[in-house]
């Protein structure tokens, strides 16, 4: 007897589980049971599971009977003519959807040639073995699995042409590539996801060589002239939002240029770009600190006294301005109403992003890197036919990572570019490397993609042959301009008087515990003290009771709250954090007594 579970709940038992499973599957293929019903029979446990629950992942497979796929040439013809649709195939029981559990019972062939009588299913396409983004990696079947993951992960961060109506949209934090291209070396998935309308990279000439040691550790060198011609140029859009919020007591925020007596009024200079309605005008050039939307808010706490004081100059300034390090041009100004009926103002900023040192790029094989040097075109190495690479990629990135597909794409891209065609590089079904090489040879190149190149500075031939070809390169959304940060002086935390943390708060860069250890290990004890002086204070301490004394500025006198007026007080240097610790200990009713001794 086999126990039967429906959506993990026991519902009864059947005499023979295997037979029952077969029966269910047949009924489903006939359309008597729902397509989404999946059945799994565990021989070891002699239990049968039926699943209809929502949220399971399932995928389509071609049903195989007696070693032959039920999908025939006729089906394909009908599909092409549009006589039948995918759903008809499912209804006919030619295609069925299996979930993870039912797959355990299935024996799936990858290719029709592999079919044996034992097989129960056939993959619709061998591309199905990988997902959509991984399917975008060209020649993926030459790579190690981990590299495919990285290749597909990187592609998700690429800058492209994400939407044609971008001009009317107010997306948060988006980038738009100026001259996107379709890849020369492409996969089937490129057609499926419609890369034609949403391209996300550019075909560039890549030279695989070292360049003066500037491209160590995954760094890449870029040709300055290529950048000036618009290579990988992008625009960064960021909206600034403001809403007229309503508060209790009928008080509301107000968009407009704040009065000079508003609490927290900045300088007149900061508001100079605002028009009468408190909004900035389009095409205004803005820099950090400039106000984009002027706004005032009602006072936070209304005390009894304030209610008599009807003057409005108690309002707080709450304008939206550019943060530290930001700049751009006002692209678009929108005033509307949100769901709650509040006035909503949005200003979209635009900033042209020309590739600079530190910007991140990648090929489609998980070979990411940042620009380390932009070289003038006249200093770039050139080939016999005068070709200069747009990007120089370091060969040391290849042996340990074993991304063979990267190299094949280079050759295939060269072939495609020279013969003016695209190259199919779909996983398992790609064009043969041999054929591609022959084609390249016929066009007068070395079949392995290697060329003799010349030093751009001296004109002498390089003593090494250089592997050079075309490749689809992606610009990734991580750009230095959004990330650079430095600080000399700046805001401190109220509690500890130590510098704030993080770029958004203009924070300091922490010298951490392990960094501290290195100073100690070098015996650089006085230097260490200086580095930790950020919250340095001089505190008057009573020599008698060892507690922090008080300085009375009016009388220019110290007195101790324990020992009274005439206590002996000494100024003691310490970190404010330690003074805070002393105070906290006192609040725990612990008496931290400082015993003072002479330094000499």
């Amino acid at each position: 007897m086999t126990d039967v579970y429906m959506n993990s709940k026991f519902i009864g038992s059947v005499p023979d589980g295997a037979e029952f499973r077969q029966q269910i599957i047949e009924e489903r293929r006939l359309g008597k049971l729902p397509e989404q019903l999946n059945v799994f029979y565990s021989q070891n446990r002699d239990e049968l599971f039926l699943e209809t629950a929502a949220g399971r992942g399932s995928r389509p497979l071609i049903v195989v009977k007696e070693g032959k796929p039920t999908l025939t040439e006729r089906h394909a013809e009908q599909l092409q003519k549009g006589e039948i649709a995918w759903s008809d195939l499912v209804k006919q029981g030619v295609i069925e959807f299996l979930d993870a559990a039912e797959e355990e019972n299935a024996f799936v062939a990858l290719e029709p040639e592999d079919l044996t009588p034992e097989h129960t299913h056939l993959e619709v396409s061998s591309v199905d073995l990988v997902g959509i983004t991984t399917g975008l990696v060209p020649f993926a079947h030459h790579n190690q699995g981990a590299r495919l993951m990285q290749g597909s992960k990187n592609q998700k961060q690429a800058i492209g042409f994400y939407a044609a109506n971008y001009y009317t949209r107010l997306d948060m934090d988006v980038n738009l590539l100026h001259y996107p291209q379709e890849p020369i070396v492409r996969t089937l998935i490129n057609e499926v996801i419609n890369t034609e309308e949403h391209p996300f990279g550019q075909n560039v000439v890549v030279g695989v060589m070292a360049y003066k040691g500037y491209n160590m550790e995954d760094a890449i060198i870029m040709n300055k002239a290529s950048i000036e011609r618009g290579l990988a140029r992008a625009t960064y859009y960021r909206p600034v939002n403001a809403e007229e919020l309503r508060y209790s007591g009928g008080l509301v925020d107000e968009v407009g240029i704040p009065d000079k007596d508003t609490k927290g009024y900045r300088t007149e200079h900061d508001y100079r770009l605002l028009e009468e309605d408190g909004l900035i005008y389009p095409e205004a050039k803005v820099k950090e600190g400039d106000v984009v939307i002027g706004k005032t808010s009602p006072p936070r706490f209304l005390s009894a006294m304030d209610e008599y004081n009807l003057a409005t100059n108690y309002r707080r300034e709450s304008s939206m301005s550019l943060k530290h390090g930001e700049e751009g041009v006002v692209d678009f100004v929108l005033m509307t109403e949100n769901e709650e009926g509040n006035k909503l103002v949005q200003v979209r900023l635009r900033d042209q992003r020309i590739p600079t040192i530190g910007d991140k790029f990648t090929s489609r094989h998980g070979q990411k890197g940042v620009i380390s040097l932009v070289v003038p075109e006249n200093d770039m190495p050139f080939s016999a036919s005068g070709i200069k690479p747009d990007i120089i990629f370091n060969p040391h990135g290849l042996p340990s990572r074993m991304t063979v597909s990267h190299m094949i794409e280079l050759v295939a891209g060269k072939t495609g570019a020279m013969s003016g065609r695209t190259v199919d590089a779909t996983i398992f079904n790609a064009e043969k490397e041999e054929d591609i090489r022959h084609e390249l040879l016929r066009m007068g190149f070395r079949e392995n993609g290697i060329e003799l190149m010349y030093n751009g500075e001296t004109g002498e031939p390089l003593m090494t042959e250089i592997f050079i070809g075309n490749q689809y390169y992606l610009r990734l959304k991580h750009m230095v301009k959004n990330k650079v940060h430095s600080r000399a002086r700046g805001p401190i935390q109220l509690l500890t008087r130590q510098p704030t943390e993080g770029k958004a708060k203009e924070g300091g860069l922490r010298l951490g515990e392990m960094e501290k250890d290195t100073f100690v290990a070098h015996g650089a004890s006085l230097l260490l003290k200086e580095r930790f002086d950020s919250d340095h204070v001089v505190v008057p301490v009573c020599e008698d009771c060892g507690l922090v004394a008080v300085y009375d500025a009016r009388r220019d006198q110290y007195h101790c709250q324990q020992c009274g007026e005439h206590a002996e007080v000494s100024p003691i240097e310490m970190s404010y954090a330690f003074k805070l610790l002393l105070d906290e200990l006192k609040s725990l009713t612990i008496y931290p007594k400082l015993q003072l001794t002479g330094k000499y």
């Binding site: 250890d517 100690v520 006085l526 260490l528 003290k529 200990l585 725990l588 000499y600």
Partner: protein, 378 residues
């Protein structure tokens, strides 16, 4: 020549002097020798730790940094002849924390004269291994009507360890209270319950119990593995019981060790623990292909054993004995240390690193160590 060497005695350690002596070319002029020794002394003086150099922190960094490169769990040897041993970072943490119970206690049992050449090595190994009665059983049948259990013994196994049926019966009868044990054949034992009311139930219960009865060998040793180390044979064991193993006649008591520091302390004393801790740490690091200067490891071992008993690098071990309240509080469980200090009115002399960092005072190492000696005008 010897007069020149005499001059350098005390300036350079004897060991180095001997090494120089050994490696000198046959003919050497006094001037050249003098130059060599001068050079050696310079090198030696440069290598000596300066006063105020914080060796502890450099030691921690030198062990900690390569530690980050260690693979968390190294290979489990999927072979027949290797045992599953904790290595890598988990083992290193185990040693340095001085854990009371370690994950895989092991012994390396070295043998005396005739045995170390491989004679009867299997027999000796079997003698060390703890055996339960289960291993001598071939078959157990229960007669439901008579309420008796018949045990057929595995004579092959018994011959290997050289144990006779009479001795088995003697050991068994000790733990079989309330049953009668009878020998009914060459290798068959019959066990009958003396209980009146439910003899069958008792017998069934006994069937499970009987398997775990200890027969012979060293208690705690679950696995034995004879290995050839260089020229001689020794036995590696899983499970450790130094006391019992050292009592055996075949065992070379001068070299046999356990990897359990507490057991080593109990049997051999604290000096042995120091030595064993060093060896164990080096063993872990070598397996990972990491080389750390041995002086760092020596320092750790010294710190762990200087109290006269084993102490781990943990808040229960050597950190407990730090003289500074603030230093202890900054390590782990700050409140406990502060409250305890407050209760007894502890005084913090502020003479190590962490407290001074907290107070933003120069730390007393390196440039922070020397004070200015001068007369202050009154």
């Amino acid at each position: 020549m010897s007069t020149i060497f005499k001059q350098y005695e005390g300036k350079i350690p004897q060991q180095l002097l001997d090494e120089v002596k050994e490696n000198l070319p046959a003919k050497i002029t006094d001037a050249k020798l003098k130059k060599i020794l001068e050079e050696v002394q310079q090198e030696y003086d440069a290598a000596v730790v300066d006063s105020g150099e914080c060796v502890g922190l450099v030691c921690a960094e030198s062990i900690g940094e390569p530690g980050t490169q260690m693979t968390l769990n190294t290979f489990h040897f999927a072979g027949v002849s290797e045992m599953n041993v904790t290595t890598g970072l988990p083992r290193l943490i185990e040693i340095l924390d001085a854990r009371k119970t370690i994950k895989s206690p092991m012994m390396e049992v070295y043998l005396k004269e005739p045995y170390k050449h491989g004679e009867d090595i299997k027999k000796v190994a079997e003698k060390i291994k703890e055996t339960k009665f289960e291993e001598y059983i071939k078959e157990v049948t229960i007669d439901v009507v008579e309420s008796t259990m018949t045990v057929t013994l595995n004579t092959d196994r018994m011959d290997l360890v050289d144990i006779k049926i009479d001795r088995l019966m003697k050991v068994l009868s000790k733990s079989l209270k309330g049953f009668t044990l009878k020998k009914t054949g060459e290798d068959i034992l019959e066990i009958k319950s003396n209980s009146k009311d439910e003899p069958l139930k008792e017998v069934y219960r006994l069937r499970e119990k009987i398997r775990t009865i200890y027969i012979n060998g060293v208690r705690g040793v679950t696995q034995v593995l004879p290995v050839k180390r260089g020229e001689e044979y020794m036995i590696a064991t899983a499970g450790s019981n130094l006391k019992a193993v050292l009592k055996m006649d075949e065992v070379d008591t001068t070299r046999t060790v356990s990897n359990d520091l507490y057991e080593v302390e109990e049997v051999f004393g604290i000096e042995a623990v120091r030595e064993q801790a060093i060896r164990e740490v080096i063993k872990v690091l070598d397996a990972q292909g990491i080389s750390i200067d041995i002086r760092h490891i020596l320092l750790v071992a010294d710190a762990m054993t200087m109290a006269g008993h084993v102490q781990g690098i943990s808040r229960y071990g050597i950190v407990k004995d730090k003289p500074s309240v603030l230093a202890r509080a900054s390590f782990e469980t700050p409140l406990r240390h502060i409250f305890n200090a407050a209760m007894i009115g502890e005084r913090d002399p502020l003479n190590s690193v962490i407290e001074n960092v907290m107070l933003n005072q120069p730390v007393p190492v390196g440039t922070g160590l020397p004070g200015l000696i001068t007369k202050v005008k009154q």
